[in-house]
Symmetry: C2
Subunit: 517 residues, 2 copies
């Protein structure tokens, strides 16, 4: 029996949902159950969807087939178009998913089949969650991670800068995340571009952090560029700082993240596949990867860092991506500001040579940029840092950044820092001996970051700083009173700062030869 397609304006966030009225003859006859997987046939196409049963004629009537925004876009037919619906076979790769749930190893074909089904939106949110949990931790071995990465590249678009711009060497830089304020990309990109290297950087928005590079760059310029504009900007400026979401580079990854985010799961295998698939799809040939190590970082021990480093190196090596992994000090946030506007301010202070600029952000960016510059065959090993510093101190990096911002579209009225403020005070005399990245990030998010760009916090003390009782440790910024109160009450419960004796200060995890920046 045929039904008429109706677009139901509900954003189900990358899940195809079909809405049928409880009195629809198809529901009654075929006995579809709620959450059943159904096949929708329309216009010669077939999509899988999850069924929601509706009791309200205003949403769908008995002879209509409602489809969520995602499903409507995927069907690409007009409202009122005829469609039919049937019980669906589970996607072909579900058997492989079950084998993984049961602890078995997956083959290359299994992983390609799963990722194809994921990219074609044939998995429900529940099935996606099952995949994410079943491949959590080290449950994927390195061969499986390699195949997962390849599969994720295979289902998306792949940029070819040689063809687009005539450059064969494309450098990139990535941090696995977890350190608030760590906005080195916005410094590194103009520096290496000023050196003449091609650095078309695509970044994500914040997933669980108070700001992603795309959120922070958006304070200054447009970041949702679309592919053609991005290419033309890169041709003109050698670089960009764009949001990667519009480029369709690793669509399966975007869908998996829609479940990893609410579950706060970010396992080594998924991380490696996600990062390397995006980088390779984006056409990068050389990558510097930053793995911060610290007690409240994503990676908490040197052993774990080494294991993760080897996994990245194994997969990158097989995919012919030149990879330089650096383990960095992840004991505390980088810079002062946390939240898009505040982090953009820190970045601009460094670019402008402002004496007030946070030195840790400057140093880290220079070291990373130096390593990228050393990918240049004409640069001697050990010379990169010096070259990066010259570019920054001469103002060429600032000029390059301004060119990039102008090319992307400078924001006429950049958002301002939140007008509501509250300071969090030290409760004792001593030395700041611990700063909890997770707690600090959480408080900044509660204050409204990144959705409210001007929300977040400004660190007034860093590790090793002496503090007196009653002195402010950091200042919270918010736009809404409820957010400010929420963030403040959390900070009062546990400010994420520990004051103690200087001897309690933890050593750098990643020090000496390991922290080989």
């Amino acid at each position: 029996m045929n039904l008429q397609i109706r677009r139901v304006g509900i954003d189900t966030w990358r899940e195809n949902v079909a809405y049928l009225h409880r009195d629809c003859p198809v529901v009654r006859a075929a006995g579809f159950q709620a959450l059943a997987k159904v096949e929708i046939h329309a216009n010669g196409q077939t999509i899988l969807a999850v069924l929601n049963v509706v009791d309200d004629e205003r949403i769908v009537s008995a002879c209509e087939l409602g489809v969520s925004e995602d499903a409507f876009a995927r069907l690409a037919v007009g409202e009122g178009h005829e469609a039919s619906i049937a019980h669906a076979e589970p996607p072909g790769s579900i058997a492989a998913l079950h084998r993984k749930i049961n602890g078995e190893r997956l083959t290359k074909d299994d992983l390609h089949a799963i990722i194809r089904d994921v990219a074609q939106a044939r998995y429900s949110k529940i099935e996606l969650a099952a995949f994410v949990v079943a491949t959590n931790q080290y449950e994927l071995d390195r061969e499986e991670v390699l195949h997962l990465t390849e599969a994720m590249i295979a289902v998306g678009r792949k940029l070819d800068w040689q063809r687009e711009v005539g450059h064969g060497l494309v450098v990139d830089k990535h941090c696995i995340g977890g350190i608030p304020g760590n906005r080195t990309s916005m410094l590194v990109v103009p520096i290496v571009a000023a050196h003449g290297m091609l650095c078309p950087k695509t970044s994500s928005r914040a997933i669980t952090s108070p700001a992603g590079t795309a959120d922070t760059m958006e304070v200054l310029a447009e970041v949702e560029l679309g592919f053609e504009r991005m290419v033309s900007i890169v041709r003109d400026t050698h670089a960009c700082l764009a949001w990667g979401g519009t480029a369709d580079l690793s669509p399966a990854d975007d869908i998996l993240i829609s479940v990893e985010r609410p579950l706060s799961i970010d396992s080594p295998g998924q991380m490696v596949a996600s990062i390397l698939s995006k980088k390779i799809a984006a056409g990068s040939t050389h990558l510097v990867l930053d793995i911060p190590v610290g007690p409240s970082a994503k990676v908490r021990s040197m052993a774990e860092a080494q294991r993760l480093k080897k996994l990245f190196e194994y997969v990158a090596g097989h995919l012919r991506l030149q990879l330089d992994v650096v383990l960095s000090d992840g004991r505390q946030p980088i810079g002062r500001g946390i939240g898009p506007v505040l982090e953009a301010r820190d970045v601009m202070q460094v670019l402008q040579g402002d004496p007030a600029a946070p030195q840790d952000l400057r140093q880290k960016a220079l070291r990373l940029a130096g390593r990228m510059i050393e990918f240049d065959p004409d640069v001697r090993g050990g010379q990169g840092y010096q070259i990066a510093r010259d570019i920054l101190d001469s103002g060429r990096a600032l000029a390059q950044m301004n060119a990039i911002v102008d090319a992307q579209g400078r924001r006429a009225e950049p958002p301002q820092v939140g007008s509501l403020q509250a300071e969090v005070l030290a409760e004792a005399d001593g030395v700041l001996v611990a700063l909890d990245n997770l707690r600090i990030a959480r408080i900044a998010r509660l204050a409204g970051a990144p959705q409210v760009p001007g929300a977040g916090l400004d660190l007034l003390k860093k590790l090793g700083d002496p503090v007196a009782k009653g002195e402010p440790l950091y200042r919270i910024y918010a736009q809404f009173d409820a957010d400010l109160q929420f963030a403040r009450s959390h900070a009062q419960k546990d400010p994420g700062c520990r004051i103690g004796a200087a001897e309690q200060l933890p050593h750098e995890f990643a020090s000496g030869s390991l922290f080989s920046l």
Copy 2:
């Protein structure tokens, strides 16, 4: 800012969903992301919900807060009532869930906290799926399974038949499932009730099978009884065959099943907790548990069966449930009919002493009933089978069944067997040496069972039967042509039957002393 509650008539199947318009000032200001977890405050209550962003004013306008049917019922306020919404803290037990995902052992308190949050609908579908996958297989040790079972009992209602009916000894029988046609409950219950034992049986509907006991009993009588009616029926007839879903016996289990079903996951720990929590909550004191073993059964080896048996015994022992586990022959379906109407016909043939009745169903039911009757302190060990047979052959079981059917409400017009039929024929001469339970179940479901009660199939040959090429192996019944074609085309690809030489017939897995029926 306050919003007005609007009931959105979408059945989200045990998930609280909040619908906010994209232009709602709250969405814009607080920057809620799709699928964010939000807290809804109304009428002094707080519930957690998953956010769906809406672009259609007909569903919610910009100053309304739409809530799904589940959430509306849980809030228990009228439409138009004021409500506010905020970013939610994750449910308190999510930290424990993450520990489990990471392979750690959970404590009693962890499991109670998780199950409390599940029962209060504080978990999203994604989080439920994560829990189900993280506790899959033998990832819960027996202590954890015990605590999970206790926790599931603790959050639900518990029946007390001593208080309700004055009986201290309450017998029950359960099969872990996986064997089509295995409708022994509808025979066992009238037999043991006719012996004078209290047997208030609650059953589920089919989850992944072509018929559950509740679906099959519903062919004859009402099964959605509600608690008061069930008690009064049990008082009158010593028994019932009711659907357990209305009794709120193990609400967390019902919610977990809403995810286990679409994922087709049924792990040992979840199975034990699910079955034993339901039985203990239903007030059972003595339970005969049937674990079929066979190459296409849920349990495929004696080693696995023994392991599962010990897990059931461990948990039951600590919860003071008298448990008698029997391992039975699970190499093929029981009886002939598969699907609600066809299975009800088999049951009635056995009760009526019809010579055409399937003997395997009769024998299995008598053996199980015999074991239950031996829970009676006045019955000597070994006498149960004889007593059960006398009750069946004398017609007392039939009379008891009729009394139960009348008490529950006999269906005036019971559904009939599907009018469309197709036979699946043997492709060679020989002996039927394998019958695949899963394949047979799948074909019966494709034919429409259990949603179409008269759909399913009738086995015309069983293991060991000689067959000639072209002879029918089974007959498919359906109500809709599309279903018939779908089932038939699947049967043509693989009928689930293997014809070979008599020597290839597999031995009973559960034989001799192990199959101690």
